[in-house]
């Protein structure tokens, strides 16, 4: 009852392994952490203060707390990574050529780095304004 696959085929199969599983795991695990981070963020900014949305002073007051600052920075990093990995997955499902996918990877990576840098800069600037 033994089946056969040729040695050459086995070698070709083994060579197919790539990083896509790691990308998916990063997206899944970041998503699970984002449940806490985004949940906290939504509740804090929409539902706690009177009137719902925080005004300028209330935002500064919130971000001045070092724990909150850390959570918001982590939120930006994981949120942007999760979103852009998701965009990559959607693009991959449309079967782009290898060249197109490489360009998409670079664009998403660059966009992500800029977005995260801007988000962190914003958080630091607000914390400084809060004194």
């Amino acid at each position: 009852m033994d089946n056969m696959i040729s040695q050459r085929s086995l070698e070709q199969m083994a060579a197919r392994r790539d990083r896509s599983g790691s990308f998916w795991l990063i997206q899944a695990l970041s998503g699970l952490v984002l449940v806490i981070l985004l949940g906290t963020h939504m509740i804090a900014h929409h539902f706690i203060v009177e009137g719902g949305l925080r005004d300028y002073e209330q935002v500064l007051d919130y971000v001045s707390n070092p724990v909150i600052f850390t959570l918001e920075v982590l939120f930006v990093i994981l949120g942007v990574a999760h979103a852009l990995l998701g965009v990559r997955a959607i693009v991959t499902d449309m079967r782009p050529s290898a060249g197109t996918l490489r360009v998409v990877n670079w664009i998403l990576a660059a966009f992500g780095i800029v977005a995260i840098a801007y988000g962190v800069y914003l958080a630091v600037a607000l914390q400084r304004l809060a004194g």
Binding site: L25, M42, G51, G52, Y56, G79, V80, A115, L122, A125
Partner: protein
């Protein structure tokens, strides 16, 4: 072992949007996938718009509080409720996709959908009421 070749069928050109979002006759899990993908696209667009709008905070209270007066208008509150639905659905179905996708509780994936998204919908209704009444 040759590469899997794309099958070109001139009679039926590929349409990604139809493949993902035409849910007629499909099961609840495919509906779940379609809505997850739709909310993902919406939330991604929102995320970057939101990051851009937050730059108003750097203009001081005048810049931010002026924006707040628009953000508390009925139209914006309704958009907020739509955003809340997207967040809640994507979050709770996302928990299911993450767990099932790692092979955890995958035989109970349908129950997980009803349970988790059910909890999410309750939270959504509560949140929507709070948004409108705050």
């Amino acid at each position: 072992m040759p590469d899997i070749q794309p099958t070109t069928d001139p009679a039926r050109p590929k349409s990604s949007l139809r493949a993902w979002f035409d849910v007629r006759g499909r099961s609840i899990s495919t509906l779940a996938f379609a809505l997850n993908r739709l909310t993902a696209i919406g939330l991604t667009v929102y995320l970057f718009l939101h990051l851009a709008v937050l730059s108003l905070l750097l203009r001081g209270p005048e810049g931010w509080d002026a924006f707040l007066s628009i953000a508390k208008s009925p139209l914006f509150l309704t958009l907020d409720v739509v955003l809340l639905f997207g967040v809640v659905y994507h979050m709770f179905n996302g928990i299911r996709v993450a767990l099932v996708g790692m092979g955890v509780a995958h035989r109970q994936q349908k129950g997980l959908f009803y349970g988790l998204v059910g909890i999410g919908l309750i939270l959504f209704v509560v949140g929507a009421i709070l948004i409108y009444t705050a």
